[in-house]
């Protein structure tokens, strides 16, 4: 019996190109909008928008919000919200600032510049973020306080506990190793970037191929070979193209000269080298891959989506939805800690207002990326693309000379417009929510 079912299914006719590629039309729409946006800004700025330098800058400015947005997807998918992410980031940042400039040096007695400072500092930041996240999750899951209230309270509490932690001081200078996680200060250089890019491309091709093999093994319907090949080519091209652009942005000569001097050498005349992949971007990509695997390939991810789609059904299926809530907020907190590392290192200091209004950017990125506030629907790549679109919009407007209040008006309008388009789209393809 099952064989008949499979055979019939496998021979179902394919309707057109889109069906053959099995591409997510919503994702294509977002990419299309993003490309249009970039092209428009590039036109208005006479080609200054799409330079390697500007692309590099937008990329490293996106990382912090994008990391948190991937966690916000899980929070919103389970029908919760987290208004505290900016404040938790500030709290983790404050603790890391104090840890590396005072606690490890004055209390634990490490010498300045010790190689232990950066890892211990980061551990402290991640621990603080995770602990706060777990606590929020416990209040929501086990005490039944709505997430909106818990995290609204959290916003006020942690922002100001952070203030007391540093006595309202800006903390700088920071440990030089730590600064490498911010972006421009820590890049892999062209050679390693090419190697990693090639490995990533190979990995993507392998993933496509092994997915196809698993489907064939069970006799399920697969895409035509040409479609699979085209997809692999597209992905490979995108990865290598991105590496090429980042490699094309040279390190400023003055900075190179300083680097050579630091090693007691003289910079050869005409020497130049590209930045390549920033470590912070690698962290984001790693987060994206891990979170996507969690969402799609693990029980935890399955339960997150089930609980978002129908909390009662999840509970009746034996899923411990309270513990699930704790885990989801724990992940969110951990990612706030990770974001704090990147944000603080990029700013090369801990300013008091670090992460202010990030909660709104993060929620907007997730929502623009297709995460439905009704729960049960959302993707990690969508949220990251959402963060990238918002950052590009803001940077582009900055370059064109739009003043800040008007920038905010535009971003707010785009958020509402994006959700409206999403609703229309879902209506047309007949999805619920």
């Amino acid at each position: 019996m099952p064989d008949t079912a499979q055979r019939l299914d496998a021979t179902e006719p394919r309707r057109g190109l889109m069906d053959a590629l099995e591409l997510d039309t919503r994702l294509l729409g977002m990419i299309g909008a993003f490309v249009l946006l970039c092209a428009a800004f590039n036109l208005v700025t006479d080609g200054r928008f799409l330079t390697p330098r500007n692309i590099f800058n937008i990329t490293i400015q996106t990382v912090s919000v994008a990391i948190m947005a991937s966690g916000m997807v899980f929070v919103i998918v389970t029908r919760h919200i987290d208004l505290s992410v900016g404040a938790v980031l500030a709290m983790a940042s404050a603790v890391m600032g104090v840890t590396q400039t005072w606690w490890l040096i004055k209390v634990a007695g490490l010498p300045l510049g010790s190689p232990l400072i950066a890892p211990l500092t980061m551990l402290a930041g991640l621990a603080v973020g995770t602990a706060i996240g777990l606590f929020h999750g416990w209040l929501v899951g086990y005490q039944g306080i709505p997430a909106f209230i818990v995290t609204l309270g959290g916003l006020l509490v942690w922002r100001n506990v952070a203030w007391y932690t540093t006595s309202g001081q800006t903390i700088a200078p920071l440990d030089p190793t730590f600064l490498m996680f911010g972006g421009a200060e820590g890049t892999l250089g062209p050679a390693w970037s090419w190697i990693l890019g090639a490995l990533a491309a190979l990995g993507a091709v392998w993933a496509i191929w092994s997915g196809r093999r698993a489907k064939l093994a069970h006799g399920f319907r697969v895409k035509p070979v040409w479609a699979e090949t085209a997809l692999a080519a597209l992905v490979t091209g995108a990865i290598l193209g991105f590496v090429a652009v980042l490699n094309a942005y040279p390190v400023p000569a003055a900075k190179l000269r300083r680097m050579f001097e630091a090693r007691g050498e003289v910079m050869p005349e005409g020497y130049s080298i590209g930045h390549g992949l920033p470590i912070s971007v690698l962290i984001l990509l790693l987060v994206a891959v891990v979170m996507t695997v969690v969402a799609r390939k693990t029980r935890l991810g399955r339960y997150i989506f089930a609980a978002g789609g129908n909390p009662d059904a999840a509970e009746l299926s034996g899923i411990n939805t309270r513990l699930l809530t704790v885990k989801v907020f724990g992940i969110m907190g951990f990612l706030c800690g990770l974001s704090a590392i990147v944000a603080q290192a990029r700013l090369q200091s801990h300013p008091n207002d670090i992460g202010t209004l990030d909660e709104l950017r993060v929620i907007a990125a997730a929502v623009i990326g297709g995460t439905a506030l009704a729960g049960g629907v959302g993707t990690i790549y969508g949220a990251i693309l959402g963060a990238l679109i918002m950052q590009s919009l803001q940077s582009g407007m900055g370059m064109v000379g739009v003043d800040t209040p008007f920038q905010n008006i535009v971003v707010g309008g785009v958020l509402v417009l994006a959700v409206w388009i999403d609703i229309q789209y879902r209506k047309r393809v007949g999805m619920r929510q």
Binding site: M1, P2, D3, T4, A5, Q6, L8, D9, A214, K215, A217, H218, F220, V293, R296, K297, T298, R299, R302, Y303, F305, A306, G308, G309, N310, D312, A313, A314, E315, L316, S317, G318, I319, N320, G376, V377, G430, M431, R432, Q433
Partner: protein, 249 residues
């Protein structure tokens, strides 16, 4: 023979409403016990005490003569109790395979979800229960009422239940699908399962069940062997709330 399930003096109240009021029912292996009663009689609430969805206020549950505490749906599943809820309890955003295995996913050696095997198993069991079912890759929100119901039924029978609870399993089904469920109940009964069947169709209860328990306003009106009563007798019990005179002691 010890009963498979004994629900003894079960009570549960919501606020002031006594949804289930000192009800006792038992169930033997290979037996189908029908639960009858008007809407709001307390049938779903009673079986939810057994499936772990609700916690009883008082009373006792015995499985194979042994007293058990069922605090949540996990406890019930561990005792091989499977339930088809009236609301179906499906996650609408997930596909049939994800719903069938929800809470009991198959995984690969590395602990990742084995989607391909889960889909293959789903195709296998759906091929038996509902051979016309095709939408294996669509979220269940895209399915018809009957298709959704067959997913919920597949989930309950896939995992080798010993005790099966079916709360209005044919509510959304057409005549042909209803007939298939009737055949399925017969087959499971022959395999020695005990089945609680809640159904509004008195005719069907008389056909499929060995005994019928009638409830009204949270109380048990009586339990009768279906071959000792007529359909009119059962209807009378449901409406009047008392046993027919011929059987009243």
């Amino acid at each position: 023979m010890t009963p498979l399930v004994e629900l003894i003096d079960i009570s549960i109240a919501f606020g002031g409403i006594k949804a289930v009021d000192h009800v006792s029912v038992d169930l033997y292996p290979g037996e189908v016990v029908g639960l009858l009663g008007h809407n709001g009689a307390g049938k779903s609430t009673l079986i939810k005490c057994l499936s772990g969805a609700y916690r009883k206020d008082s009373g006792e549950i015995r499985i194979n003569g042994r007293k058990v505490e069922i605090e949540n749906p996990r406890d019930a599943r561990a005792l091989n109790i499977e339930t088809i809820y009236q609301t179906l309890a499906l996650a609408d955003n997930l596909d049939a395979a994800a719903n069938l295995f929800l809470g009991r996913e198959l995984t690969t050696g590395f602990g990742f979800l084995d989607e391909a095997r889960m889909e293959a198993e789903t195709r296998r069991i759906m091929g038996r229960l509902n051979p016309n079912f095709r939408k294996f890759n669509a979220p269940v929100s895209a399915l018809s009422g009957g298709q959704r119901q067959s997913v919920a039924i597949a989930r309950a029978v896939y995992f080798n239940a010993k005790i099966l609870i079916m709360d209005e399993p044919t509510a959304a089904l057409g005549p042909q699908e209803t007939q298939m469920v009737a055949e399925l109940i017969g087959e499971l009964k022959r395999q020695g399962l005990g089945i609680f069947l809640i159904d509004h169709d008195i005719h069907a209860v008389k056909e499929l069940c060995d005994r019928a328990a009638v409830m009204k306003n949270g109380q048990l009106v009586g339990i009768v062997r279906v071959d000792e009563v007529s359909e009119d007798d059962l209807l009378g019990m449901i409406i009047l709330g008392k046993k027919p005179d011929t059987l009243a002691a």
